[in-house]
Amino acid sequence: MRFAYPDPVTSPLLELRGLRVRHHLPLDDGGHRLGDPAPDGVDLAVRPGEVVLLLGPSGCGKSTLALATNGLVPHVVDADVTGTLTAGGHDVAATRPPLLAADVAMVFQDPDAQVVTGSVLDEVCFAPENLRRPPAEVLARAEGALRQVGLWERRGDDPALLSGGGRQRLALACALAVGARLLVLDEPTANLDPDGVEQFYATLRSVTASGERGVLLVEHDLDAAVEAADRVVVLDAAGRVATSGPVREVLAGRAEELAELGVWLPTTTLAALRLRAAGVPIDPLPLTPAELTGALDAVSLPAPVAVQEPDVPPVDRRDVVVSVDHLTVRRGGRTVLDDVSLDVARGDLLALVGANGAGKTTLAQLVAGVLRPRRRAVAGSVRVGGLDPWRADVRDLTAAVGFVFQNPEHQFVTGRVDDELAHGLRLRGVPDGEVVARVDDVLDRFGLGALRDRHPFWLSGGQKRRLSVGTAIVCRPDVLVLDEPTYGQDRERAVELLDLLTTLHDDGTTVVVVSHDMQLVAEHATRVVALAGGRVVADGSPAVLLRDDAVLAAAGLRTPPLARATGALRDPAWHAVTRLADLPAARLPAVHLAGADA
């Protein structure tokens, strides 16, 4: 084999020229048709010491591009690929993906789906063993990699025992152990809680510090990624390069243009754009909370929009929809919920926040009757809409509470979109004429009318999510409970969903949403309850709670970016500003782009 290495220090670790991918979409007759090209004609290079951030709206081919870097597209995932792709001096088109493992290492989105072995040490040794490195070298590499990500002490553990953040750091260690100089990270923090995200990026920084590795990073959470990245490549909806260049030049210099493309920007950049439109002279645009603080302290600030401190009477005076009374739940010898008491009043949009494993999902499932605990394992009680959710008849329960699962597919029980919506109504014996009217109304409101005869499993991710919310609200429940509806979803879909929830809430539905996306919580919730270790550690309005660093840190959470920036300002009137909506400007039309997946 001959490798062309003109200059091993600066020659690119990855080079794409005119990369164009058309996926093979299976047809019923066993053949296939070609999908629209995405990416389409992309040139891109990653050099040693560089972190290149790849951005673009849903469907622009970011993940496809990532999978093409080591040939998984088209060698494993069928597609037509044109253009040239060189990784570590190899022509990727002519090399089987496993043979590129020493040059290109990948970290995928789902931490569960990349664990192959039964121990942390075996996991890290897996790739070097596949490449037939001698045992002593395998062990030495594994130890070095595990020490670098801080997991050497846990080498004997089953990877399943690690937190999500721990498993993604393990995936980084696997990449280090095999000695690959190019790391390709495909939304590595989408499934992590704020603590896990922070750990992951801290580790990534130490990994790239030596300057010999290069990183191609696909990431939606720009608040976390922007400080790690050196260069940005932005794709448009058609999969072509819209712009590229140094991070600051692109994100701050061309922010309006990117927002129009449907690319998410750092929260602080969005905030500055909004202020700029309101006449506050901010130049250059900030990318981080600290920069926003600096920029705002340097100008004379107008008064913020009066932050609406929720003007609510004490809970017990209002109409209580959900009442959790001294609830303690044990599972497998562990106390999952510990003496939780909580009343949710009609009209609340309550966010249940906390780190992974804090008990949020368990509490939500108990409220909705999804979990029916054994009498021995539980103390205390739950009432929802006047019913006991653990004993009530399903027909009554669907009128009291609707539950939206993390994975929408779990709750689909029929073969057609309209049947899916009609199911709950028919079960309750609603007359046929009214069923038709109510199903049509929901199809219409959620933009699913044209898809009514499709199988729910064949919808796109965003459509599935809308249908799952539709099935939960079609019976007009007193309260809608959602379990991490934005988990693993990209930013546009997450925003689309939360806008939908806000609309439902404005129409009078009580909403309880489990989430650890702090900025989304700040934007939409009227009340925040934080859980840690199964206990309620905080309960209050987002404006107050989300700038309490100590409480959030204790719950494994972080202050959302805007609150971090305003909290450090000299003008105390601005300390309560946690939401973009609190900023003095009209809402930017291009910021919240919905329906990008349609």
């Binding site: 089987r96 496993p98 990349q114 063993e129 596949n130 045992p135 095999v178 909705a368």
Partner: protein, 258 residues
């Protein structure tokens, strides 16, 4: 017996496949004493050299005793009465005559089953799945892609268990086939298949991409960091299994009155 040391350190193939000829022999026996001696012997080896906790050993012993009792009576009832018509009637239960011959047949079946169970546990409790795969690739030259793919698939099981639990809860709150009875239960279970399969296939695809990206299948062989040796002591263990079984057979024959 103490000379055996730690059973966990022996070659997995010897522990898992070594007892197979003994199992075949046990299946062919018709008396009670031979399988009983084999079962006792296997349990003794497990207790002395298996490094199991007392709780596990107690559970095995208790389980074996309970299984013997239950099977003796249930198989005893299934025995063709004509075959044991000349033996004593011990009791009459609801028109059924329980004859001593029937119980003896039931007991023999029960003890054979317990002996087989003990022989399986001998290897099963002292060997990890990963070690069996390593030994199969190293000694039996099974292609590693098959073995390691099987191991990766085994790791899906707990995930599926959890996923099934969630789907079950989801379908219950949506009111799928509520009520009791076997027909409804079957309808309910059938409803879990599609979401479980859809999730399973997607997960399998992701895992296989992750494995490819990490060099799985790059070469016909891979480094075995953990060498599973097959040495003289393994041969000794194998021969002692067989010698022990033969001793049980001889002892049983000596103790049985002609």
């Amino acid at each position: 017996m103490n000379g055996l040391g730690d059973l966990r350190t022996y070659n997995p193939l010897v522990k898992v496949l070594g007892p197979v000829p003994v199992m075949v022999y046990v299946v062919t026996t018709r008396d009670v004493l031979t399988p009983a001696l084999v079962a006792l012997g296997a349990f003794a080896v497990l207790a002395v050299a298996g490094r199991q906790s007392p709780r596990v050993l107690a559970a095995i012993a208790g389980g074996a005793a309970a299984l013997t009792v239950v099977m003796t009576f249930s198989f005893g009832l299934l025995t063709d009465p004509a075959l044991v018509a000349d033996t004593t009637v011990l009791a009459t239960v609801g028109g059924f005559e329980v004859r001593s011959g029937a119980l003896a047949t039931g007991l023999a079946t029960a003890v054979r089953t317990v002996a087989l169970m003990m022989l399986v546990l001998l290897g099963g409790l002292t060997t990890s799945g990963a070690d069996v795969v390593r030994a199969m690739t190293q000694q039996l030259h099974l292609p590693y892609r098959v073995g390691y793919a099987a191991l990766a698939a085994l790791r899906f099981v707990p995930r599926f268990g959890h996923e099934l639990e969630v789907i079950r809860g989801a379908h219950r709150v949506r009111g799928v086939a509520p009520g009791r009875g076997p027909v409804v239960a079957v309808r309910r279970q059938a409803g879990y298949v599609v979401p479980l399969l859809a999730g399973g296939i997607r997960h399998a695809e992701r895992v296989s991409l992750a494995m490819d990206a990490r060099g799985f299948g790059a070469h016909p062989t891979r480094t075995e960091r953990t060498v599973v040796p097959f040495g003289a002591r393994d041969v000794v263990l194998l021969l002692s299994f067989w010698a022990g079984a033969a001793a049980c057979a001889v002892l049983a024959a000596t103790l049985t009155p002609a």
